[in-house]
């Protein structure tokens, strides 16, 4: 650990005070260092050390704010609204933790997977890009400056396009996938920045707390409303919110395995966080929901996503593509939780953000191991591999059960909160009974698509006579860490649900909460 609390006391205190910026700065500096050193051997160790340090920092941050409160950090000592402010509360500390956790766990996995799928001469640049993507995602989440969100969004997006395109060594279609994503992602980012422009026009500030403050004073007008619409649509594209999800399946299928693991678990999640932050903190919930009736847009879209994407997933013949469509459906669950608009619902959304992150990362890792051994992820190619690679197979089974939401797995906890949230709103609006039922009914579709994969893995006759070897240890260990986490967080929900509930409470206080906090700063 970088911090030495007992040797030089004031140094330690300073370092601790700098945690919010260190979170972003460590990977940010590591990327260029990897490029400048230009050493293939050093690239991976540097990236791993940086990720591990980020993880430690994020855990320390989460520890400080998990019971409420927040940490404000001004970059270079410049007070907002002039300077950029980083502000860590339970909501973003939680997402920071998820991102750095997945980043750290995926890197050991990437070592072998990348060596297999990407040309040797590109490895250094690959890890540099990876670090930049990591930086962008962390920065988007940590910052409290609206424009700074855009900057980090672009850092992460641009590096993601490159990472996806690196799948071209295995399959040329990765290039068109990356191109599609580039177009869609750029449109999304453009919408977002147009929205920011309108907000800036109406309020004259870019600091989120300041915006909230001024919006509360001036109330709704057309500029403010359009700004909100642009921000939501822009982020909706990055989230892959139905029907803005078309880039996602291709990008996930053709990206290198390790990149898919990382993106599936973090990229959409960071974007969801930004959307939550804008909907609940920058704009007041009453404002966004009563005036703009987001409830009428989010809720139906989420339900449609849950059913239609699951339905499409059930007909896929490629494991990776199936998981990609399943992701679109699962994002529907997260948004549904948000749209139910009570604290349990928001908790459900945030819990699912984490649980789905680890579950999907686990499943993509398992598929990646199959790709390593079988050369592809079509069901016909992975037939019988579950028996030949029992440890990979078993981890995938755990992931699949969690995806369905079988009790005893992490996915179940999310479903529970989601259904409970819907029932809580049922007494004043019977429509929510139907919502509760739709959650459980759509998880039946998950049973169908997960079981098709299981049957391919275990019951179909192998495609070739060559017996596949078990996945290498460096892939198995991350997989099993996540598999155990899937079960652990399905039984012991203290940490995740507790932090999520705190985050939800913080978000639900909305801009009012921000105003009070702001009062405390000055």
């Amino acid at each position: 650990m970088a911090v030495e609390p007992h040797t030089v006391e004031h140094t330690a205190r300073t370092l601790m005070d700098h945690l919010p910026v260190l979170q972003v700065l460590i990977p940010f500096c590591t990327g260029p260092i990897i490029v400048f050193l230009g050493s293939r051997r050093l690239a991976w160790p540097l990236a791993f050390v940086a990720s591990a340090l980020s993880l430690i920092v994020s855990l320390m941050l989460l520890w400080q704010v998990k019971d409420g409160g927040y940490i404000a950090y001004t970059l270079g000592g410049w007070e907002p609204p002039l300077g950029i402010e980083y502000r860590i509360d339970a909501a973003n500390a939680f997402v920071l933790m998820l991102i750095s956790l997945i980043g750290t766990i995926t890197l050991p996995y990437a070592l072998i997977s990348v060596a297999d799928e990407i040309k040797r001469r590109d490895h250094t640049l690959f890890y540099a890009c990876w670090m930049l993507c990591f930086t962008g995602l962390l920065g988007m989440v940590a910052t409290a400056d609206a424009f700074n969100v855009f900057v980090f969004l672009e850092i992460s997006s641009l590096s993601t396009y490159v990472l996806v395109a690196m799948g071209a060594d295995r399959d040329r279609r990765a290039l068109t996938a990356a191109y599609d994503y580039l177009i869609m992602g750029t449109i999304g980012a453009t919408f977002f920045v147009i929205g920011l422009g309108m907000i800036y026009m109406a309020t004259g500030t870019l600091n989120m707390a300041d915006i909230a403050d001024r919006l509360a004073d001036q109330g709704a007008n057309r500029t403010v409303r359009s700004g909100f619409a642009f921000v939501i649509v822009g982020m909706g594209l990055k989230i892959a919110m139905f029907p803005l999800h078309l880039w996602l399946p291709k990008a996930y299928v053709f990206a290198p395995s390790a990149v898919t693991v990382f993106l599936a678990a973090t990229a959409t999640k960071a974007a969801i966080y930004v959307m939550l932050r804008f909907t609940f903190s920058v704009y007041r919930p009453e404002f966004t929901y009563a005036t703009n009736t987001l409830e009428m847009i989010f809720l139906p879209l989420a339900v449609i996503a849950m059913f239609s994407a699951s339905f499409v997933a059930a007909f896929q013949t490629n494991f990776k593509r199936m998981l990609a469509y399943s992701s679109v459906a699962q994002i529907g669950y997260i948004l549904l939780g948000v749209a139910i608009l009570n604290e349990t619902g928001l908790t459900a959304g945030i819990v699912h953000l984490f649980n789905h992150g680890i579950t999907k990362a686990l499943m993509f890792m398992g598929v990646g191991a199959f790709v390593l051994r079988a050369g592809g992820s079509f069901y016909a190619q992975i037939a019988g591999l579950g028996r030949q690679m029992p440890l990979t197979g078993a981890a995938l089974v755990i992931g699949g059960l969690s995806l369905i939401g079988v009790p005893g797995t992490a996915g179940f906890i999310s479903k529970w909160y989601l259904v409970q949230a819907a029932f809580e709103r049922a007494p004043d609006n019977p429509m929510y009974l139907a919502i509760a039922v739709s959650v459980v009914l759509s998880s039946l579709l998950a049973v169908v698509y997960v079981w098709r994969a299981f049957e391919a893995m275990y019951l179909m006759a192998p495609a070739t006579d060559i017996r596949a070897k078990e996945a290498p240890l460096l892939m198995l260990v991350p997989m099993w860490v996540l598999a155990i986490a899937c079960i652990w967080f399905g039984i012991d929900t203290d940490l995740i649900a507790g932090a999520a509930a705190q985050a939800a409470a913080g978000l639900f206080e909305g801009s009012q909460g921000m105003l009070e906090m702001k009062g405390a700063v000055h």
């Binding site: 479903k415 409970q420 459980v440």
Partner: protein, 492 residues
């Protein structure tokens, strides 16, 4: 040993068998011996719990808290204890039988088979000792998942199709309906603990009560209430030991056990009687009883016929709960033990015929009685117990159910029960009669030729058990009585 330790030991013992099967997959005798020892151990610990009842505590032991208000917790109560005794006791016999069957039949993947079997038993113990609906639901799902590989065991397209139906219905109903019901109950009452007299009284009113009951009744797919019964005939593709213990005893009884628990401890018999919410369920159960019996008559595959018979018999227990009288609930509880003993006998006999002569269709079993006298006599005793004739155990639950029907004032239910008995006679007795009294066709051995000892002995023992249970039914009834002490009888 205190009860708490014994509960956990009873749940962990089967996992010893799991470990043993995984570690010694290729050393048959060591592996099967270890499983046998762990079956004995499981039964032993359940008996320890039985001895402790009366002088021990029945307070819930919390393993851990999942979310505020929801624990994974266990306790001992009569219904669960009875279920645990039945399941763990019959596991010993079924294991002996299973070893004989799997070896005699040259089935493959023994280790995987017995390992999954052990996990299933462990989750049955969890179900039996759950002290709240959440814990029960958790183990209920583990039971479904762990029995899936057993149904798909043969790996043939037919087995895979059957297993798919099995899983689709059981997971489908439990997640879509039962989970909804559980969460709804939690939101309404703020607890899920099994409480004497129920927890919903005063919390749920009007249309919510029958709807919630419906979500439970159909959501507990393992109770095979029509129209969610198709999984049971589909599961008959599994090797016979699975059909015998799991699909006549452990899995289906887990279903009706859950049904009884929900009726007695979540809704409360009195609450059901007051609101009349369970009346529709009673009629549906009555329909299920008759309809499944009629379908059973037309099945030529012996195991399928027994499966439909099970569907019919399970509805007796659902009926007992839906009657909303204490005699009905007691009758239902008693039927868990009685039907288990009778039906496992029938299935083991069906397996014995298959091991020795590879016959699965009833029409091919003509004249087989002289070759397999022990098997067919055991079958006859089991059949008579299912029909409900004295001096066999199966007669008591029917008697109690009829009293329950009288208490609740539904005379017509008595007629339904009587008609069902007649139908049972019609589809079970001819099998034995044709085996003994019709001449064997050409080319079929007419001299004594039983299945291996390990295969015919267990059904002979369970047949004897059917007789013994007749005389000890009173003990069982007294043992179960506490589940309804606050209601029915005392109030009258």
């Amino acid at each position: 040993m205190d009860t708490t330790t014994a509960i956990f030991a009873a749940m962990l013992m089967p996992l010893v068998a799991l470990g043993g099967n995984m570690a010694f997959a290729h050393r048959e005798n060591l592996r099967d011996g270890l499983t046998f020892a762990s079956a004995l151990g499981t039964f032993g610990f359940v008996l320890v719990i039985l001895c402790n009842v009366g002088n021990g505590t029945t307070e819930a032991v919390t393993l851990l808290t999942v979310f505020p208000g929801i624990d994974i917790a266990f306790n001992v109560e009569p219904l669960g204890l009875l279920f645990a005794i039945v399941a763990s006791g019959l596991w010993i016999l079924t294991h002996i039988y299973g070893v004989g069957y799997m070896r005699g039949n040259n089935e493959k993947h023994h280790a995987r088979f017995f390992a999954c079997f052990a996990v299933a038993i462990s989750s049955v113990m969890g179900i039996a000792f759950s002290s709240n609906m959440f814990t029960l639901f958790l183990f209920y799902e583990i039971l479904t998942v762990s029995t899936y590989p057993l149904v798909a065991h043969k790996g043939t397209p037919e087995a895979i199709r059957g297993a798919r139906t099995y899983l689709a219905i059981l997971i489908g109903t439990s997640i879509a309906l039962q989970l909804t019901a559980v969460i709804w109950t939690f939101v309404l009452t703020g607890t899920l603990d099994f409480t004497q007299g129920g927890i919903l009284a005063g919390k749920a009113t009007g249309w919510v009560v029958p709807v919630l009951l419906g979500l439970y009744a159909f959501g507990i797919g393992k109770a095979a209430l029509m129209p969610f019964h198709k999984w049971l005939p589909a599961a008959m593709v599994a090797p016979t030991p699975v059909s015998a213990l799991l699909h006549a005893v452990a899995v289906v009884k887990a279903g009706v056990f859950t049904m009884l628990k929900v009726g007695v401890y979540i809704f409360g018999i009195d609450f059901l009687a007051q609101t009349g919410a369970s009346e529709w369920l009673m009629w549906l159960a009555a329909y299920s009883i008759i309809a499944a019996s009629v379908v059973a008559m037309y099945q030529d595959n012996l195991k399928k016929r027994l499966a439909y018979s099970t569907i019919s018999q399970l509805s007796y227990i659902t009926l007992g709960m839906a009657l909303a009288s204490s005699a009905g609930a007691l009758g239902g509880g008693l039927h868990i033990a009685m039907h288990a003993m009778g039906k496992i006998t029938l299935f083991m006999c069906a397996g014995a015929i298959y091991v020795r002569y590879h016959k699965t269709e009833i029409s091919d079993m003509v004249g087989l009685g002289r070759a397999m006298p022990i098997t067919f006599i055991a079958f006859l005793i089991g059949a008579l117990s299912i029909i409900g004739l004295p001096p066999l155990g199966g007669s008591w639950p029917k008697f109690l159910l009829m009293i329950g029907a009288l208490d609740s004032g539904y005379i017509i239910i008595i007629a339904v029960l009587a008609l069902s008995s007649l139908l049972n006679v019609a589809y079970l007795i001819p099998i034995v009669a044709r085996a003994f009294f019709l001449p064997a066709p050409e080319g079929q051995p007419n001299t004594y030729g039983e299945a291996p000892l390990l295969v015919w002995l267990p059904p002979a023992l369970t047949a004897a058990g059917c007789v013994i249970l007749f005389f000890y039914a009173g003990v069982l009834q007294d043992f179960l009585a506490p589940i309804v002490t606050t209601g029915g009888y005392d109030a009258q």
